[in-house]
């Protein structure tokens, strides 16, 4: 032992442990069902020695075994099939053990023991009953109806005893009710009490499906609630139902639902039948038996006609009441059922009676709802009937627990028992897409899930098991969890989705669907999603209106959908991009995957690449779900066309259709409104986004930036505090906080954000660029250049080449404004060589205009014009500004002023905003001021430059913020106000007190000041 030994264990030994299985050690680790049924020569059941198999059931095999210690006796050893969670089985059994121990009834087989073999097979040790299933016994003995009822009553008493001890059987069927003879009298024994619960027999996972799948199980005896919720709330009345089926079979020799038909129709249909179909009456069923009726009657020592009469009365109503689909209408207890049979035997009136007409009407409505709606609408003249039906339906639905349009829901990961990994994540993703089409439902976002998982001490990509999802649901104050499962039975797949109220665990709705093969799984999922939406309370009209089939909404390729879901789970750009790329490789028409590629490339500062993807997404938008279509359109209008009006309109339509979605608000607040210079809109939309999703960090940043832009610093701070109180972090915070610190002349605060961002991917470079701007703002050009270099290097280290180019371009523009034409040219050409992003083109063009490089500027203008013919910012802000500067160069100040008219509505806009690099606000005003100077209109010029100083929150550390002071000085000088002019020059010199002395514009300023 020593430093070599992980976890303090000998590393050599650990290494050997890895090979145990492949070297075929005693713990082979590879087990198949075959080895289970093949025998247990290699396994150890402790003191029980297996003698021979007694039979095989759905969840395992029963053996006759001999116990030798401490007493010698024969026992039945039930070995649970592999594949179940042994630990859980045993834990559940342990819970039940106490109750089982106090059950003491001659008709209940005792359970002696439970355990697990070293190989992990759980087993139960029970009293060995040398009997035969009750139905077989009765038929073999040709027992009359009366005799059968007597035996059945003894079974009821046994079950009733168990219920009194709090134990529900959950799996009553003839093979669990054995009859043996003691002193020539039949004695029934109920076996397997406690086992169904321990093995969670009806859980969706494994058992049920294997059981059904292998067609060894017994759905004929399962109660509707067991078929409905599977893991559901089973109570005594479930046993009443199963006993009802046994009674039915004892009476007429067959079960209500034809087992062959049940199995032939597939699992989903089988479950539906169990859940919804009313059992045929005894006499009707008997009539349908045809020739077989004779045998059945003879086994009961009677003839077909007599048998039919016998069962067509109270006995029928007793079975009907026991077999009620709705638990509340069933016998409330086995005792009640038993008493009613006793009453029948004693020829007294029974409790069970034909259901009332009203009740039957209601059942009819429930079964044939759409048809009845049609009929009720059409047959106006039966107004009364129509009203009755309506009110019944209404009562029926309103009693059902539903969600409201204020609730949120959480999707758990699907339980996938198919072993086909392609379904992992994929189905959850598919369901999410379908549910998100609903304007009514609102899913907790993946971001919030990751965040909450963090609070729960889980990893952000932790599996959302039903338990984890339920906790998530509670923590996010959501209303429901949707648990899904997929299982394969032969070729077909069975899917289930269940909505559970996460505060009390009650089932709100559930749905199942079967898919004949893998290719139809998505289709089935889509249909289930629509059904679920309606069941959860969404109106049929919106369900129908917003219901693009899943395969159209996403992709017909399961693999591609899987890649998409992996991408959505990824938290870092490169990983996400890899997956989305894989998704579009697999399905080249996968619109949403392209959209995400666009988004991620935008987020890492590659707008040109991003635009290509976004364009593609837009072209393929018909292959997207409804909300995604709005989304794709909005980003296409904004990022590719740059048409802010269209983008805004798309967001508005999006909000109308999906009033619960925060995304259009975020998009308006974070991208569209800032570019339009509508900061009140930024605040309003950000607030709305916060209201809709209080735990989503980005809107707080937008709120903060919106307030800052309007110089409302205290409110900006309080927005930040709000976010911090909610313990939210966003990588935009450092940039916004730096911004705020600058505006408040808080040097320490700025420094702090620089420190915080150091080394942070994609954040560090932004802050370095800001710091570079700040240095330039104070005229410290050399320091600024060094910082720009570092910012570019940091950006390039993360492959953010376009961002780096943007820094170069901005720094070039700065040089141009300061009069360093040479350096400005160099930087502009570096920038354009690395990116043809819109902002790079603009900064370079404007720099060229300031440098007097008219040809260069014209080329760039052409390029901008060609690429963004309908780009709002390009046409109404960038191009007028550049053209006006060129006009000024030609001495055409009135032309410049005229050109700039177009920019008036948009000059407050900042196209890059919120945490990303921003610099372009109010340039049109700056050039307009210069035009007025050139036109010798001092007052007008002053007004323009004052506008820049008044909008500090927008202009902030941009060089024009500093130069505006100088320009005001020039404007006053022009108007002849020397005192004000001097004071403005002095303001500028104060700002630039540490400036590099050789800056051309500073030199001219000093000269001008000297002349005043």
């Amino acid at each position: 032992m020593g430093s070599d030994d992980p976890a303090g264990l000998c590393h050599k030994c650990l290494m050997q442990g890895v090979f145990e299985s492949s070297l075929g050690g005693h713990d082979s680790g590879i087990e198949t069902v075959d080895t289970v049924t093949a025998g247990f020569s290699d396994d150890d059941f402790g003191r029980y020695h297996i003698l021979r198999p007694l039979g095989e059931g759905g969840m395992g095999t029963v053996y006759l075994a001999e116990q030798r210690e401490p007493i010698r006796r024969f026992v039945a050893l039930k070995v649970v099939k592999l594949g179940m969670d042994t630990g859980q089985v045993l834990a559940r059994f342990a819970n039940e053990r106490q109750a089982l121990a106090i059950m003491d009834h001659p008709s209940i087989a005792r359970i002696f023991d439970a355990g697990a073999t070293p190989k992990g097979r759980p087993y139960f040790v029970m009293e060995y009953i040398a009997g035969v299933p009750i139905t077989q016994y009765c038929d073999r003995r040709r027992m009359t109806i009366g005799q059968r009822l007597e035996v059945f009553l003894s079974v009821c008493r046994a079950v009733q005893h168990a219920h009194q001890k709090g134990v529900i059987h959950r799996d009553l069927k003839p093979s669990n009710v054995l009859v043996m003879e003691q002193e020539e009298k039949p004695v029934a024994k109920v076996i397997d009490f406690g086992i169904a619960k321990a093995t969670d027999q009806w859980a969706v996972e494994k058992t049920l499906l294997t059981q059904f799948g292998q067609m060894v199980g017994t759905p004929e005896y399962a109660s509707p609630e067991q078929a409905e919720v599977m893991t559901g709330e089973v109570d005594e009345r479930s046993d009443v139902y199963s006993l009802g089926v046994i009674l039915y079979e004892l009476l007429i020799g067959v079960v209500p639902f034809d087992p062959t038909k049940l199995r032939r129709e597939g699992l989903a249909e089988m479950l539906r039948i169990v859940r919804e179909e009313e059992a045929p009456s005894l006499s009707r069923k008997l009539s349908a038996m045809g020739a077989a009726t004779a045998d059945i009657a003879s086994q009961r020592q009677t003839d077909p006609a007599s048998l039919r009469r016998l069962v067509d009365g109270d006995l029928n109503w007793i079975t009907v009441k026991a077999l009620e689909k709705v638990r509340e209408r069933r016998y409330a207890s086995v005792a009640e059922l038993g008493s009613d049979i006793e009453r029948y035997v004693e020829r007294r009136p029974v409790l069970a009676s034909p259901p009332s007409g009203l009740y039957r009407a209601r059942k009819f409505v429930r079964r044939h709802r759409p048809a009845v709606f049609g009929a009720a609408a059409g047959l106006v003249f039966i107004a009364f009937a129509g009203l009755t039906v309506w009110s019944l339906v209404h009562r029926n639905t309103s009693s059902r627990p539903k969600l409201t349009d204020r609730d949120t829901i959480v999707l758990a990961d699907f339980t996938n028992t198919t072993r086909d990994a392609v379904f992992d994540d994929t189905l959850r993703q598919g369901l999410a897409v379908q549910l998100e089409q609903s304007p009514f439902l609102s899913l907790i976002s993946d971001q919030q899930i990751q965040q909450t998982l963090g609070l729960m001490g889980q990893k952000p990509d932790a599996r959302l098991t039903p338990e984890v999802a339920r906790e998530l649901c509670q923590r996010t104050a959501s209303a429901a969890v949707l648990n899904g499962s997929i299982a394969q039975i032969g070729n077909p797949y069975l899917l289930t989705v269940k909505a559970v109220n996460c505060s009390n665990g009650a089932t709100l709705a559930s749905t199942e669907a079967a898919a004949s093969d893998k290719d139809h799984v998505l289709d089935a999922l889509g249909k289930m999603a629509s059904e679920m939406r309606h069941k959860l309370g969404e109106s049929l009209s919106t369900v129908q209106k917003f219901d693009t089939p899943l395969e159209e909404a996403t992709t017909p390729s399961l693999e591609a959908l899987k890649a998409l879901s992996s991408g959505k789970r990824a938290t870092s750009p490169p990983v996400a991009i890899t997956f989305y790329k894989r998704a579009v490789e697999l399905d080249p028409n996968f619109a949403v995957a392209y959209a995400w590629l666009g988004i991620w490339h935008t987020s890492i500062g590659e707008p040109t690449i991003a635009a290509g993807y976004t364009q593609k997404a837009y072209e393929l938008r018909d292959h997207a779900s409804e909300p995604e279509r709005y989304f794709v359109s909005a980003i296409y209008y904004k990022e590719v066309l740059g048409n802010l009006e269209k983008a805004e309109q798309a967001c508005r339509l999006w909000m109308q259709a999906y009033p619960r979605s925060e995304v259009p608000h975020i998009y308006l607040a974070g991208g569209i409104y800032p570019a339009m210079g509508r900061y009140d809109g930024v605040i309003a939309e950000a607030r709305e986004a916060v209201r809709l999703k209080p735990d989503y960090p980005a809107p707080y940043v937008f709120l903060m930036d919106g307030y800052m832009a309007l110089n409302r610093f205290d409110e900006a701070k309080s927005a930040y505090r709000q976010a911090i109180e909610r313990k939210m972090y966003h990588h935009y915070y450092p940039a916004s906080l730096y911004h705020l610190a600058f505006l408040q002349n808080d040097a320490a605060g700025m420094k702090q954000q620089l420190t915080v961002s150091a080394g942070q991917l994609g954040v560090e470079n932004t802050l370095l660029a800001y710091e570079s701007d700040t240095s330039a703002y104070y005229g410290r050009v050399r320091e600024s250049e060094e910082l720009t270099r570092r910012a570019m290097e940091s950006a390039e280290r993360f492959d953010e080449k376009e961002i780096s180019a943007n820094y170069s371009a901005t720094s070039g523009l700065r040089d141009a404004l300061f009069g360093n034409a040479g350096e400005a040219r160099r930087r502009a050409s570096v920038a354009v060589a690395h990116s043809t992003g819109v902002d790079v083109l603009y900064a370079s063009a404007l720099a060229s205009a300031y440098n007097g490089d008219t040809g260069r500027a014209e080329t760039l203008i052409k390029e901008l014009n060609k690429r963004f013919p309908e780009g709002t910012t390009v046409q109404f802000n960038y191009l007028p500004t550049i053209r006006a500067k060129l006009a000024l160069n030609r001495g055409d100040s009135s032309g410049a002023l005229e050109t700039l008219q177009a920019a008036l509505p948009y000059e407050l806009g900042t196209t890059t905003f919120s945490g990303e690099y921003t610099w372009n606000g109010l340039y049109p005003a700056f050039v307009r001021g210069e035009a007025y100077l050139a036109a010798h209109q001092g007052n007008e010029a002053t007004a323009e430059f004052l506008k820049i100083l008044d909008h500090r929150g927008i202009v902030w550390n941009s060089p024009i913020g500093a130069l505006a002071h100088l320009q005001i000085g020039r404007a006053y000088a022009l108007s002849g106000d020397k005192i004000k002019a001097k004071s403005a020059y002095e303001d500028f010199f104060t700002l630039w007190k540490d400036a590099d002395p050789d800056i051309p514009i500073l030199k001219s300023a000093r000269a001008e000041y000297g002349k005043l």
Partner: protein, 250 residues
């Protein structure tokens, strides 16, 4: 520029459902970001064997640290990935061969030392122990740099597996069970089940089941971890045997 879908808002380590080295090799272009992330995380997991290698080659602690960092930077730049190299099948071979190239290129190293390099990965263990502290505890015998690298590599892997295994218990809220049962990972150990079962207030049967699962999970994780470092899943068993040989040889 920003947009409404700020999907990358949560800081957190990227998770790789596909294996990392596969991702790197499949990316083809080493400059691609997906490859880069996968590489960074591989470097994070396996920096110590490289450090130990450099130390054993005679570099001083500071120098070895700088060289390790600088080397990673080179790898991330794609410096060695573009080589057509049969060794690429396994990350272990690739990285050692590349490190040798790097160490052999005097000029490159000089530059690295001048620049001081940048920190790509933290050269510290999760325990806070530094690489040098760990190195000081290396046995003093005269293993070659290659041997020490391989041995450290195998042990790093073993450590990661144990860490992940423990992590899973922590996730289930029962780290103490891991501590109690881990001894059963030692090959065919015959530990007293009965006593432990009593201690854990469970049945012997249940304990055996739990141990069975622990062993199974351990083997799975080990293979997963290896899969992360090979380009072809078919390589896993061979690499596993190789590592075992490294650790068990005299």
């Amino acid at each position: 520029m920003t947009n409404g879908q700020t999907v990358h808002t949560l800081p957190g380590s990227p998770q790789f459902p596909t294996t990392r080295w596969t991702l790197v090799v499949a990316a083809g272009d080493p400059q691609r970001k997906d490859a880069r992330s996968a590489l960074v995380s591989l470097c994070e997991n396996y920096w110590y064997p490289l450090y130990a290698y450099l130390r054993r080659r005679g570099h001083a602690p500071d120098q070895a640290q700088d060289l390790t960092q600088e080397f990673f930077m080179r790898v991330l730049e794609g410096r060695y990935l573009d080589r057509v190299d049969p060794e690429k099948g396994r990350f272990r071979s690739f990285i050692l061969t590349s490190l040798k190239f790097f160490a052999a290129d005097e000029q490159d190293r000089q530059r690295a030392q001048k620049r001081g390099g940048g920190a790509i990965v933290s050269l510290e263990f999760s325990s806070g122990e530094s690489g040098e502290e760990r190195y000081q505890r290396e046995p003093g015998h005269d293993d070659t740099p290659d041997r020490i690298f391989e041995r450290r590599w195998a042990l790093s892997m073993l450590e990661r597996v144990m860490e992940r295994l423990r992590e899973e218990f922590v996730q289930h809220g029962s780290p103490e069970n891991f501590e109690r049962m881990k001894v059963f990972l030692l090959g065919q150990s015959e530990a007293p089940y009965a006593d432990l079962a009593r201690e854990m207030t469970t049945s012997e049967g249940a304990l055996k089941v739990a141990i069975h699962r622990l062993r199974k999970r351990y083997r799975e994780l080990f293979r997963q971890e290896i899969a992360d470092t090979v380009a072809d899943p078919a390589e896993v068993e061979a690499e596993l045997r190789y590592l075992a040989a490294v650790l068990t040889r005299k």
